[in-house]
């Protein structure tokens, strides 16, 4: 049972959350400009690293807010997704 820190409600058990997969996969501004391969990549292809992964969670049983965290997929160590980190990409 992971302990996940909701940025709003604080530390809560994993069962209060739903997983949202890899973070920062933006919805294309105009999907119709993408060719089939690009659109397929957007729909189905996600990173799966062993190590740090920025991922989304939503606090479904609490405030229902989405947020991102960085989780080490090998150790489950979780740290808040720092905005600076996101800007650098």
């Amino acid at each position: 049972m992971l302990l996940i820190r909701c940025p709003w409600c604080g530390d809560r058990d994993e069962v209060e959350f739903r997983y949202g997969g890899q973070a920062d996969v933006a919805y294309p501004t105009d999907p119709h400009e993408l060719d089939d391969a690009e659109w397929g990549n957007f729909l189905f292809v996600r990173a799966n690293p062993m190590g740090a992964l920025t991922e989304r969670w939503v606090h479904t049983a609490g405030c229902r807010r989405w947020f991102s965290v960085v989780r080490d997929t090998a150790t489950n160590e979780m740290t808040p997704d720092i905005p600076r980190r996101r800007e650098s990409r």
Binding site: M1, L2, L3, D13, R18, G20, A26, Y27, D30, P31, H32, L34, D36, W39, G40, L43, R56, V58, T60, R64, R65, W66, T75, N76
Partner: protein, 967 residues
């Protein structure tokens, strides 16, 4: 002086023991009465009454005896017969109680088939510091942490705190250590921030310091102890964790090492000091390290003879040798026990010299005995440490696997669990770790000073021997050198595994089944690793490594995991405000998600078939009523609400005028149908969206995801209002009459109240209501919404208003038939996550003018394939034959030998009163092209011929929607 029923009970003047000598506890083992004292375990009571032999071994039927005094026991496994029978309990762990009935087992127990009526529950607790193990190190850690004001939980498997201090004769600050234990226990009990869980085993240590703890609350009481919770599963979340889990003594592997009377040296000591039981009067001690000397001294001071202490080390510490000799024991250094005799209990051992290379030498010495106390060294109990993510390494100095790091960020290991076996060291580490953990948790404190102790001292280096050579046979033939007693697995079995080419300890474990019994390797694991290392000529057991330490640490009844989560508490049952009315009407319910919905309302003598035909007829020819309160409802508010709904629905909503409703369909980004429902526009900036009964939470999550993560610039807010509203659908040609009576202020005529319009009004009973003209049946129909708390009054009013018209309540089955006759799909029944709106033939609901979520996917090559499955109507050629839902459809001339290409399957199938026949909906490859074709559906070995048709089978012109002309 020993009592007749307890011939092996030591006189109180010799050993007081931690038992109550004023009372007798009677139990029955294998049909024979066994007497013990409060404070005994079943094993100590058996030993006190002179029984050491237990059930014979599982495969080879060899006699076996009590080996241990703890949870590592591989032999003394019993079936508890009183109460709800329970298998494979270790007699060493069962606290004696009046009326206990047990049967010894030969490796296999049985499930009773009886319902276990005992109560199991769970509790969530949080702590700053959790200490596991209440031996000297754990108690010291708890004291230090507790004095800081931190919240502390101390967990121990036994009924009393103290651990090994209760097994020995140590002194702390000049007084018996048990006095220190008593004082510490009182201090902890009096501290409001401390919770002490005794009789509690930490089953597992999970991510982010989450522990599951099984507390045995009534197992030590007679089984008639009523409705109290038998066992409780504590879910513990802690900031800091101190593991003071101790160590388990290893047995030794030699020829016929499984004979009753062979017992761990530490167990002998425990029975002597804790239970005042003398397991044997003439004991040989066979050891690889210092600790068993104390056992020898304890035996001697209890009146037993110790004719021999056999030490594998050629040079045992002189201090110990002198002490032993002075007390009357002869020490055999550099020697090993190579064989045992007895029928079945051990009566003699054979001792041979063991040279520095591990080979036998010298001439044998035979020594008679009735007990052989063995010590193969100690295994630090690193199970929980490893589960918490820690790594272990082989430490040649302590001859055991120890934690690689003992002071992680939030986990600390102290005492024997990290290979520290001297009392002073255990206390010092405990105090330090407890203070550190509290300090890290935000409660700064310095460790208390370590008191003066007289107890176990730092030991000399042990000399582990993984398998004593046989006098005549090579290792591969050592079929009586037992490594895992419960599994009857031997040195020869490990050789057989390596002969087949296995090298990994994981493979060897599974091949030999070693460590797969209830002790889970606590007794057998490291010996097996040692033997494997020698077999593979590895340099040390560390090269072989351990198997994975998985929860649970000790066996646990499945019932404990279930807890109270069964029966009505298994899963929420959601009910509507009208639920009691449905019950009174005799409804048969079905589960829709977590909701209980009436499926049909049988009148006396009716089965579902006839009830549904009657309910359908009422809806098509008279008036019928359904509780539709379960539909999900979401209020979507904000100046951008029209834009937002345009993006999430496949069809347009921005252009929906206020006061009107529209059916909408939602897709995932992959273009697959997600949900559907009718949304009403309440105001320019306000919609009331409805979802399917099962889809409400999913849709709200979906909307929030887009609003928060993709379109935060939109001024839109979503609020779930599912239970705010109770609603009924009033359906049928007479529905206008009924609704007119219910809502006298409302003009319900077709002219002024058109299809897909809604009105707000106050019903005749004074209830504010929102009435909509929507239909899921093709008939004239109204949906009346009121605040949830008026739901029951609405139902009663509608039933009264339609009484003279025989208004008929109908359930989900009839609703399904009515909608299927019209070709209306149910998301989740006719769709399965691989179906697009186009596959359903719902092009009319897919906007070409605007973009929406999933639109791009509808032009992916896969979606454009001509052989996609499409929604069709299905008419069995025999009009009485009902297709089973899920039945496959194949070409009429398809081969009967697999593989048979499947063209599609049946998604919905019913009898229709209106059509006078059976019919179905299905998804069929190129279905829209196939209208008129006859396909074959193989069902239970016979074939059903099925004609493909369009999905709308009833009133395709839609003339019934506005009801009969008024006049």
């Amino acid at each position: 002086m020993m009592s007749s029923s307890n011939p092996n009970r030591l006189n109180a003047s010799v050993r007081s023991g931690r038992i109550d000598r004023t009372r007798v506890v009677n139990c029955t083992v294998d049909g024979t009465t066994v007497q013990g004292r409060p404070g005994d375990t079943l094993a100590s009571a058996l030993l006190a009454s002179g029984t050491i032999e237990v059930g014979s071994s599982v495969h080879r039927g060899r006699p076996r005896g009590i080996l241990t005094a703890d949870c590592t026991e591989p032999n003394a496994l019993v079936q508890r017969l009183d109460g709800c029978p329970e298998p494979m309990l270790a007699a060493t762990e069962i606290e004696l109680y009046e009326g206990l009935e047990a049967r010894t087992l030969s490796g296999v127990g049985w499930l009773s088939g009886e319902r276990d009526t005992a109560r199991y529950d769970k509790k969530f607790v949080h702590s700053d510091v959790v200490v596991v193990g209440a031996g000297p190190a754990g108690m010291a850690a708890s004291l230090a942490a507790a004095r800081s004001g931190a919240r502390v939980i101390l967990i121990d498997q036994h009924r009393e705190l103290g651990g090994m201090l209760l097994d020995g004769q140590s002194h702390i600050s000049g007084h018996p250590a048990t006095e220190w234990v008593g004082r510490a226990a009182r201090e902890l009990a009096e501290n409001q921030n401390v919770r002490v869980l005794t009789r509690s085993a930490v089953l597992g240590c999970y991510d982010h310091n989450y522990l599951l703890v099984a507390e045995r609350r009534t197992d030590h009481l007679p089984t008639s102890s009523g409705a109290a919770t038998r066992q409780r599963l504590w879910h513990v979340r802690t900031g800091q964790l101190v593991l003071a889990t101790g160590a388990h003594e290893r047995p030794l592997v030699f020829a016929d090492n499984d004979r009753p009377g062979v017992m761990l040296a530490s167990a002998v000591r425990s029975y002597l000091n804790r239970h005042a039981v003398l397991p044997g009067r003439n004991a040989v001690v066979f050891t690889t390290s210092d600790s068993a000397y104390t056992t020898a001294l304890d035996l001697l001071s209890s009146g037993a003879r110790v004719p021999a202490i056999v030490d594998t080390r050629p040079d045992p510490p002189a201090r110990l040798v002198e002490q032993a000799r002075a007390a009357g024991a002869q020490v055999y250094p550099g020697a090993a026990v190579v064989a045992t005799e007895g029928a079945p209990r051990i009566s003699a051992v054979r001792i041979r010299g063991l040279d520095t290379g591990g080979a036998l030498n010298g001439s044998p010495v035979d020594v008679s005995c009735d007990l052989l106390a063995v010590c193969g060294g100690w295994n630090p109990a690193v199970q929980l440490f490893a589960q918490s993510g820690g790594t272990v390494r082989w430490d040649p100095v302590v001859a055991g696997f120890v934690p690689l790091n003992t002071g992680g960020r939030s986990t600390r290991v102290v005492g024997a669990a990290r290979g520290t076996y001297d009392l002073a060291g255990c206390l010092a580490q405990g105090f330090a770790a407890g203070a550190e953990a509290a300090t890290v948790a935000g409660f700064r404190i310095a460790p208390p000073p370590v008191p003066q102790v007289d107890g176990d001292r730092p030991g000399a280096r042990p000399r582990p021997v993984w398998a004593v050579p046989d006098e005549s046979r090579p290792p591969e033939a050592c079929t009586d050198h037992f490594v895992d007693l419960q599994r009857d697995a031997t040195v020869a079995d490990i050789h057989a595994a390596t002969e087949t080419g296995m090298r990994s300890v994981q493979h060897v474990k599974r091949y030999t089944t070693i460590s797969t019994g209830v002790e889970q390797g606590k007794n057998s694991g490291v010996n097996a690793i040692g033997v494997l290392a020698e077999t593979l000529a590895a340099n040390s057991p560390g090269e072989v490594g351990t198997t994975t330490f998985r929860p649970p640490y000790t066996p646990v009844p499945i019932a404990l995991f279930a807890g109270r989560t069964h029966g009505s508490l298994y899963d929420p049952v959601r009910t509507t405000p009208m639920h009691s009315r449905h019950e009174q009407a005799g409804a048969v319910f079905e589960d829709v998600g977590q909701w209980k919905r009436p499926r049909y309302y049988p009148r006396s003598g009716e089965d579902m078939h006839s009830a549904v035909l009657r309910e359908c007829a009422a809806a098509r020819t008279g008036v019928a009523i359904q509780d539709v309160s379960t539909l999900g409802r979401i209020e979507v508010v904000g100046s951008d609400a029209p834009t937002f709904l345009d993006r999430v629905y496949t069809n347009g909503f921005a252009n929906l005028p206020v006061g009107r409703a529209r059916y909408g369909m939602m897709c995932g980004a992959d273009g697959m149908v997600l949900d559907d429902g009718v949304s009403m526009r309440l105001a320019e900036d306000r919609y009331l969206m409805s979802t399917t009964t099962g889809g409400a939470a999913k849709v709200l999550d979906w909307l929030e995801e887009w609003l928060q993560t993709e379109w935060p610039e939109l001024d839109v807010y979503c609020t779930s209002v599912t239970e705010q509203w109770a609603a009924v659908a009033v359906v049928g040609p007479d529905s206008r009459t009924v609704v007119g009576r219910l809502a006298p202020d409302l003009d319900v005529s077709a002219e002024s109240f058109g299809f897909m319009r809604f009105r707000e009004t106050v019903l005749g009973n004074g209830t504010p209501a929102r009435v909509a003209r929507v239909s899921f049946s093709g008939e004239l129909a109204f949906e009346i919404n009121v605040a949830g708390w008026y739901g029951r009054a609405l139902w009663d009013a509608a039933m009264a208003a339609g009484a003279d018209l025989d208004i008929t309540p109908y359930g989900t089955e009839t609703m399904h038939v009515l909608r299927a006759e019209k070709g209306f799909v149910i998301v989740g029944q006719d769709t399965d996550g691989t179906v697009t709106p186009l596959d359903l033939g719902m092009d009319w609901a897919v906007s070409r003018r605007k973009d929406f979520i999933g639109k791009r996917s509808l032009s992916r090559p896969e979606m454009l394939r001509e052989d996609r499955k499409q929604l069709v109507g299905l008419l069995p050629v025999d009009t009485d034959t009902l297709l089973p839902e899920g039945a496959h459809l194949v070409e009429p001339d398809a081969s009967r030998r697999p593989p048979v290409p499947m063209l599609g399957h049946v998604t919905s199938s019913y009898h229709s009163a209106a059509l006078g026949r059976t019919f179905a909906l299905g998804l069929v490859s190129r279905g829209q092209e196939r209208v008129g074709e006859v396909l074959r559906s193989p069902v239970d070995g016979s074939d059903i011929e099925v004609e493909i048709t369009t999905p709308v089978l009833y009133d395709p012109e839609g003339v019934r929607r506005d009801g009969p002309a008024q006049g």
